[in-house]
Symmetry: C2
Subunit: 492 residues, 2 copies
Amino acid sequence: MGKNLTSREQDYSKWYNELVVKADLAENSAVRGCMVIKPYGYAIWEKMQAELDRMFKETGHQNAYFPLFVPKSLFEAEEKNAEGFAKECAVVTHYRLKTDEENKGKLIVDPAAKLEEELVVRPTSEAVIWNTYKNWIQSYRDLPILINQWANVVRWEMRTRLFLRTAEFLWQEGHTAHATRQEALAETKQMNDIYAEFVESFMATPVIKGAKTENERFAGAEETYCIEALMQDGKALQAGTSHFLGQNFAKAFDVKFATKEGGLEHVWATSWGVSTRLMGALIMTHSDDKGLVLPPKLAPIQVVIVPIYKNEEQLEQISVVANQLVKDLRANGISVKFDDRDTQKPGWKFAQYELQGVPVRLAIGPKDLEKGTVELARRDTLTKEFVEMNTVVEKVTVLMDEIQEALFTKAKNYRDEHITRVNSFDEFKEVLKKKGGFVSAHWDGTPETENKIKELTKATIRCIPFDREEEQGACVLTGNPSAGRVLFAKAY
Amino acid sequence: MGKNLTSREQDYSKWYNELVVKADLAENSAVRGCMVIKPYGYAIWEKMQAELDRMFKETGHQNAYFPLFVPKSLFEAEEKNAEGFAKECAVVTHYRLKTDEENKGKLIVDPAAKLEEELVVRPTSEAVIWNTYKNWIQSYRDLPILINQWANVVRWEMRTRLFLRTAEFLWQEGHTAHATRQEALAETKQMNDIYAEFVESFMATPVIKGAKTENERFAGAEETYCIEALMQDGKALQAGTSHFLGQNFAKAFDVKFATKEGGLEHVWATSWGVSTRLMGALIMTHSDDKGLVLPPKLAPIQVVIVPIYKNEEQLEQISVVANQLVKDLRANGISVKFDDRDTQKPGWKFAQYELQGVPVRLAIGPKDLEKGTVELARRDTLTKEFVEMNTVVEKVTVLMDEIQEALFTKAKNYRDEHITRVNSFDEFKEVLKKKGGFVSAHWDGTPETENKIKELTKATIRCIPFDREEEQGACVLTGNPSAGRVLFAKAY
Ligand SMILES: [Zn+2]
Ligand SMILES: [Zn+2]
């Protein structure tokens, strides 16, 4: 059973890696740090994309597409951004291969085809986009620009993990341009809220909204808002970020607009993104030792029907009932698979769908036909019950919301239990070591203290929560005055 | 009017370039040969994607994602494929930038961060995918694999044109694996048929289905099927291709499967793709000197309502009626925009929506309110009429199909009139020169003759039509025997 998944207790990290591969979500490729997203994993990502895309469009954003490559001279224009990403850039230097004269059948880079200017494979697109916006923006009438892009980006990471940290990943990046600071800040906030809404409502993953400290901000941003989730092993995961870029990119690319009043001002910017990293968050929030557990709203298959039969005649009888169920469930907007393959046994199928996190499994055998029942198994609770055939459609329909909610509640309880207020550094270290989760502590507001704590404990400040109480206190490390608690954690 | 578009007669190529930019579809970027797809252009592409994606899924295909980079050693494994693309490969050689010590604030490629093995930016993904399939396929039970990928690819072209030929473009690439030659051939055919159905039904662009000659085949394919469209300037455009790859990639990557009968055989493959090039075909099939003409099925805005008013009070009265229209039209599944911006005059708006190809424009002024009418303008015919307010929703709904059909019929008539049968090479040259379009002629079946004709006339064999008549004849150039006519044309 469970296809021999390592248990979480045994080795959480190994459990995760095995689960991702065995549940057919993704696997490593022949390219260092780059993954293959397999059809089942990609189907979940597509569902995420569809919901996010809808939310972006409902708030007035449009999609567009900008080049994969950034000429080095554009890349370096916004200095902080360039500095932040320079160390992880894949660089295209040549545009042709040629036959190796010494080894026919092999190819070598053609030295005659060296680019005059190197091209950076985008690690993020602010530079190439703001260089474009320059030509789109003359007057206040051209603002705001509210654009999103679905794309692949490359950041050369030395240590990679499927979905969580890969050299190439898929994401969306919003890039907006505004006439005022206030409007740009409101957009930054709005998009962070949209991320929170998506992650909580669809991924059933509770998040804390807050601002990053200067240390943890996006390179080139004046403010980074974020949503922070907590994984089952007590480590935090940054699920999405929204950046207020001030006028930094407008200044770097000289983007000014004529105001209504006849002035000329630099444009205000935001950018915001979520990536295939969300897949990692989804997996680690809900799954168990038997495999993936998926919230119904993101499950590619919400219900699977498995026939249990000894001969062709039985299968035929079961199929009549099953096909009707498929029809009725689909009419209720539920995605169903009737797995009548004869190449695999029911037990194999049970384990497979458990491993792949299908929320509800219905099994129908000859006895069920006699009694007019169906065996219904819930993936999240691993409970089973017999349900009257004529109530199963209603039951399953209601269950979709129930499971979605149950997963959220369970994750939220775990998360809430793992926010610990501490008032001394000893306590701080002990909580981190023994319990994990978020540690809510006073901090004196300096990058030096933050760095020191990171050095000593590997914990970073995940965010300054938006909803924190005003509370005068003493920094957990230095004892210096603090205006309120921040959340520390070890993080992915 | 028409925002000063160069006319097609004056300079077709210039007309196209201006139209693409002025209608807000795309523009050149700072990166040589790479385009920015602007929101309006991208919205059309999204509609294309949605329909194609639906058609792929209805025929059992699933989406997945494979790496952007192909290690050189994988890239060169299938020799013909590698040869075919080697000359246009962007190559990543380094993975880090560093500060230029002689010029602070500038970055240089860090020579210490040279990759051991260069990475090719995918020009197509057969190599990286078949290297993956190798691990997915052991037995006949693992077949078929029916996967599609939506992705960006890079082919370093020296002469580029927006949508038609760009260094980076967006596309989908299907990659399937089969147990038998026959099944792979059937898949190749099916996908070519799906492309034809999409291009004809949604883009309203008639196509001819056929096979490519050996010269024009995809590098590494045993057979390339294609759909060929005809543009208004008499040049052909290859709108989609579907390749039967035989066992070439299976052999290059050593992908074998255990047959039902206990044998071990190489897997059969297909690949098929359409790209943002379709945008070029769409634009050039229908548009006119006033700008873009869009078939309703792909128009991001199908109906625009423009209010004509002198004061705030009039606008308010018109808005009541317009908002009701918006509601009623949306209820019929029609996408409508009510453009009540006061920053632009009606004349400006008329020209803008004409330029952007919105199929139907409704104008409402104070007199219309009195009379209970609306002025309805059709983009394709440029005709106007007054319509009773209480019939306008029905009228517009019916018009959507009517316009879609009218565009197809018009394009098909033009295309059919531009297939000319010739029996001598003098005729061949004269038709190409004076009339353009497809030239249907006998050919002796040799690459040499095909090359010679290309050299002399710039025309290539677009395809050997599937539905050609059996007809013995003499090659138009050599007089050697021919088993049937093929279609020649100058092409994009
Ligand atoms: Zn400036
Ligand atoms: Zn072999």
